[in-house]
Every structure is written in structure tokens, then in C-alpha cells.
Symmetry: C2
DNA sequence: ACAGAACTGACAGTGACTATCAGTTCCTGC
DNA sequence: GCAGGAACTGATAGTCACTGTCAGTTCTGT
């Protein structure tokens, strides 16, 4: 399954997202096209799959403290960035390990961008109830704030991408989401 | 062109979005499938097209005052809601005029939802520079805040939909986006 | 009346995605 | 060991959204 992702990524980098067919990916990964769809559902899913499981884990309920969600989000991003590089041979170099290679397609390929938006939307839908139950927000407000955080993160990630991915993502999240912190005046300063 | 939209909407209401093909829509609207694609680009576009031209107009630069964008957004929504009913015969009843009929698909049909998200994303991208130039936000912050507003509006609209569309949309926007107002403390209270 | 632009329909083709069926592997109870 | 079922995989056929192109038509401006 990781095999499919890596082979697909190789082909995408080589010839572009649109120019690669599922059939070719299947051949390169030595599986059937059926299996590709079983695993990822869509072509975009190969790139987007579980990218935001970062937000899926129930364990993150603690992390995304409703009293200060921005700080929680920052913690999650920092944890993600500092996580031990995936079980990839060190020699394969940064290109494989770094999020850049995949994230690049999030913002350069329109259909992938849409898939990411949909994923963030789903993550936000799951998070909103937590915000409503633990905070002092109405359901509507919780949904709005949840979207503000989730898509605010997306905006920060895009800035990171547009800057070439040199500085840590967390820097952009911290700076970009600073205005949103005013929403919780009790934790200001 | 409005003909295509209305005929398509009739078919969607009758048999469901997925069960209707572009071919059938073309036949019903007495045009060729080519024309449908020329006008709307995608099947979802028939429902989503210019739904957010509300935000496209440059005239809204004045409306979406960077000093108080939430209030500006509210004004825009109120203006949209109170606009004279489209040139539809009065007899055809509310169902055609009201936004409900189309918005319904925004939240019930996943692919349409994705298209709406993409549209909001584009609108936000256009608005962010205004926020950066007129306000005291960095580019990254402007982008984040722009997304917070745009997708916050989306969340409020969904709540309106989930409630059955009985109260005005502006009510949900006003209530839902209240927390975001704290971002501009100067205009608070 | 005429040249060119703008619009439309017809056609052929691509490829993502679905549904279904049959074969294989793996896990369980006896 | 071995029947039986669940889980996984591959193969096939089919649908349909979407693209590109070309020819015919209508609508300009001069």
C-alpha cells in the first residue's frame, strides 16, 4: 500500500499528475487497478489519504484543548514535523521523507486541492462537536470556529508551500493563526 | 442558460443528482451536451455556477470593509437575501426562487459540496490581498483570516440548511461569526 | 454584401470509477 | 490434517463525465 503511494509519486514527479493513469500506477506497483481503488478510492486519494489523520485520532482530543485550540493545533503540527522520519532508508534522501513532495501536489494540482479541502472539511466536522461540548460556544459557532481553525491551517500550509518549504510549517501556523487567538481573550498574553 | 439550470434542477429533484446524466439534461434543455459543458464546465457547476459571484464583484470591496469584514459579510448576505426575486413567474412559487432548492444539493450531494468548497476557496484567494493591503495583517494572516471568514460563512450556511432554512441565513451568519469579531477588538461593542 | 468573430452541434476518444464474479490465501473449529 | 468461511485480490465489462476538434450557423462591423 505504501508501495503504491511511492510508485505513484515517482510517476507523478516524472510525468505530471494528469499524464499518469491508474492503470500505469497499478503496473508500476505490481497490483491490479482494482486494488488501487480499493485502497484509495480515487486517484487524488493516493496523495491525500490519511494526510489529515493527524486530526483523526481521538487521542488528539487532549491535544486540541478547546480552551486554546490554536495552541493545540500548533502542538499537533510541531509533533508531526518532528516525528521520526518514516521507515525509509536514510539514503533515499529527504525528498521521500519530507512532506514537501506530497504537499506540492496539494497546491499545484487543482483536483488534488479539492480533495484536500474535502478532507479538511470532514476533519472540521468531526472536531466541531468537541468544541461545542467543551467550550462555551453554540453549535453554529463551534462549527464556524472549527472551520476557521482547519481552513486557517490550510492557508498557513499554502504559505509555507509558496515560500518553498524552507522554514518549519509550525512557524507559518503560529504567525498566520495569531489573529484567531483573539477569539479566546482569556488566554491572551 | 438559465433554461439549462432550471431543467437540470427539475431532473435532479425528480430522480436525484447522480441518476441524471448530462445527456439527459441537454435533451431536456434542448441544447447539445457540448453547450452544457461550455457554460458550466462540470456537472456540479450547473448548481454552483456564480453562486458566489456574491463575493466576486469588485463593488463588494466597499462592502467587505477590512476594518470590520464580518459586518461587511453580513451586509452582503442581507442584500442577497432581500434581493428582488429573480424574473420568475410568481405562480411558480417559492421553490424556484428561494436559494433552498439549490443550496440543498450543496450539503446533500458530496461532489457538489466539494465544488462549493473549491468555489469558496477561490473567493477567499481573491479577497485575501484586500485584507492584507487595507488592514494591518501580514499576507499569511490575511490569507488565514480570509479563509476563516469564507469557510465560516459556509459553516453558517450549513447550519441554516440543517435547520430547514426557516430563519434568514443572515441570522446564522451573525450568530456563528460572532466569535470571529473578537479578532478586531477596536470595533468590539 | 462581405469578412471575421462568436456561438453551437456532432463526433470520437480518454480515462476515472463502479459493480460483479471467480480464484486465492488465511484463519477458525473439529 | 481438513472442511468452511471470512478477507483479500485480479479480471472483466460497463457507465459516464469530460476533452478536443471540426464544420455549420448566426451575429457583428464596415
Amino acid at each position: 500500500m505504501r508501495m503504491i503511494q511511492e510508485r505513484a509519486l515517482d510517476l507523478f514527479d516524472e510525468r505530471g499528475f494528469d499524464a499518469v493513469t491508474i492503470e500505469e500506477i497499478a503496473v508500476a506497483a505490481e497490483v491490479s487497478p482494482s486494488s488501487v481503488y480499493r485502497y484509495f478510492g480515487t486517484k487524488e486519494g493516493i496523495l491525500v489519504a490519511d494526510e489529515f489523520d493527524l486530526m483523526n485520532q481521538e487521542e488528539l482530543v487532549d491535544l486540541l484543548d478547546p480552551a486554546d485550540p490554536v495552541e493545540g493545533l500548533l502542538k499537533a503540527v510541531r509533533a508531526y514535523e518532528s516525528q521520526p522520519p518514516a521507515d525509509v532508508p536514510q539514503g533515499e534522501a529527504e525528498a521521500v521523507r519530507s512532506p514537501w513532495r506530497r504537499v506540492h501536489y496539494f497546491f499545484s494540482e487543482p483536483s488534488v486541492r479539492m480533495a484536500v479541502l474535502a478532507n479538511i472539511d470532514r476533519a472540521s466536522q468531526r472536531y466541531a462537536p468537541l468544541l461545542a461540548s467543551h467550550g462555551d460556544l453554540s453549535e453554529t459557532q463551534a462549527r464556524v470556529v472549527s472551520n476557521a481553525l482547519a481552513f486557517g491551517y490550510f492557508a498557513a500550509l499554502e504559505r509555507w508551500y509558496l515560500d518553498g518549504g524552507v522554514r518549519p510549517i509550525a512557524d507559518y501556523v503560529e504567525e498566520g493563526l495569531a489573529p484567531l487567538r483573539r477569539m479566546w481573550p482569556s488566554t491572551d498574553g
